[in-house]
Subunit: 317 residues, 2 copies
Amino acid sequence: MPLAEKILAGDIRAAARLMRDIDDGFESAHDELKSLYPHAGKAYLIGITGPPGAGKSTLVDQITAEYRKRGKRVGIVAIDPTSPFTGGAILGDRIRMNRHADDEGVFIRSLATRGYLGGISRSTGDVALVMDAMGMDVVIIETVGVGQDEVDIVRMAHTTAVVMVPGLGDDIQAIKAGILEIGDVFVVNKADRPDADRTARELGAMLDMNVRKDGDWQPKVLKTEASRGTGIDLLVDEFESHRSYLFGSGAIDRFMAEKCARIFMEILKERLFAEVMMPLRADGRFDCFVDDLVGRRTDPYTLVDTVLAERAAIREE
Amino acid sequence: MPLAEKILAGDIRAAARLMRDIDDGFESAHDELKSLYPHAGKAYLIGITGPPGAGKSTLVDQITAEYRKRGKRVGIVAIDPTSPFTGGAILGDRIRMNRHADDEGVFIRSLATRGYLGGISRSTGDVALVMDAMGMDVVIIETVGVGQDEVDIVRMAHTTAVVMVPGLGDDIQAIKAGILEIGDVFVVNKADRPDADRTARELGAMLDMNVRKDGDWQPKVLKTEASRGTGIDLLVDEFESHRSYLFGSGAIDRFMAEKCARIFMEILKERLFAEVMMPLRADGRFDCFVDDLVGRRTDPYTLVDTVLAERAAIREE
């Protein structure tokens, strides 16, 4: 039986296997995803991002608990930063979310960020799709950092929460400015720290400076203390408010169109590249190209012109 | 006269214009880059990265001054994080490097990170190539952050310095682990702060744990106080040591082969994608695809299959 069928029948191990195939970039995963696609689209995707040390894992743990209390099944996709050279996930097999280990209503998957071939935002989207098709009501996507990768990832979520922590100082002004536009909700976690109120006020002031049209969503700043579970119910209420706004205002239509366009383009880009690179590698031409480039006997733009012209010539024959 | 010719004749304004074209993704830039390529390859590229607030700009300023003292011409490419939604550089037209404003031996260019179409690492490489062809002896590439984008960018440099700052606490453990492998030199800046020694010791201890083969480069941890210019001469000496190692040990051959391969693949990926997407956009099919995806009448993998099959069919006609 194909994996997709098993997954739709509730087979957790089949789901885990497909997610591993996705993370490893196996082509066989494509057919399974095709089969799952019509069964997805019901889950509500929440993105959680912010600098390292903001307490995101604990917060995700608490949000999960709150959604479980409300009777929802929760999937979690945690993106671990990858060591660029070894290819392994830096945080490795960290033990996450022990309290949910025996809860069948929670499904957790860590993804390593591979970079280069096969964008991480695409594999994150694919894993979220599997969780969606499995019947998870809420899928939480947790990323570390505020780079372009993280922006691409959280853009896939219906609602994005940016988690800050008091006391990082004025140094993070640049980061703050960058994330103002991706957050639908802002969370000042570790709110027991002395300068939590100041951080929340500053964030609020920056948000107020952003001019919004009437009817646009106005992000709020909420304070939490994830380690004690303080403020979590209000945070989840705020997620639900944003969800109501999205679907009630019609903003969901534009969101879905942009998201679908991005996903299509990413897959197209990867597949086209693989299609052209494979024969170049197989017949050793790629190695010759590199030799010529290192020796400066040609330049990369001319080489790409050559490869594209050959493909066009074959088409016109 | 083509821009490339003017640039090789020393025309600074032509260089600035080509760099703007590169940043804006103009196709016309390709031909100019082809002409410049044989004239480049002499500059020594230094990558500087680290978290926001580590004082990288000031450090780059001081390194520039030190290289100027040593009689070298210096190009600087500063990557500003871009607002993902407005597309503008977050730090805007910040006034950088005033002290070098009247120095013809220094050329500074800020790039915005565009993301998505046209990788930032490619345009950074192209701008560095222009500076190289202009006759800059040293090109410094400054990025903010430690994500995949930054890794891709600094990988283009011969020597990468990772700048840390004391007192960020244990929270950055994850980041530290990620950057250990990309740094050839580690800098603890703001060394006047109380816990500078501790940070330097910890970094050194982590580096010692990395097993290296005999003859491999062993990165050092240096302390600087960029605002006062302390430690800069030793840092530049260390850059030069790494450069001697690279060229003396033959490690440069593998470095150049990997770099050339990456650049070729990036350009190929972009051009292939543009070639296929343009007609799809022009005839309105892309919009139909998005409609079908939003309506879940098809899935992105099947659509990409269709597009690729059509291209193969045209080729076989």
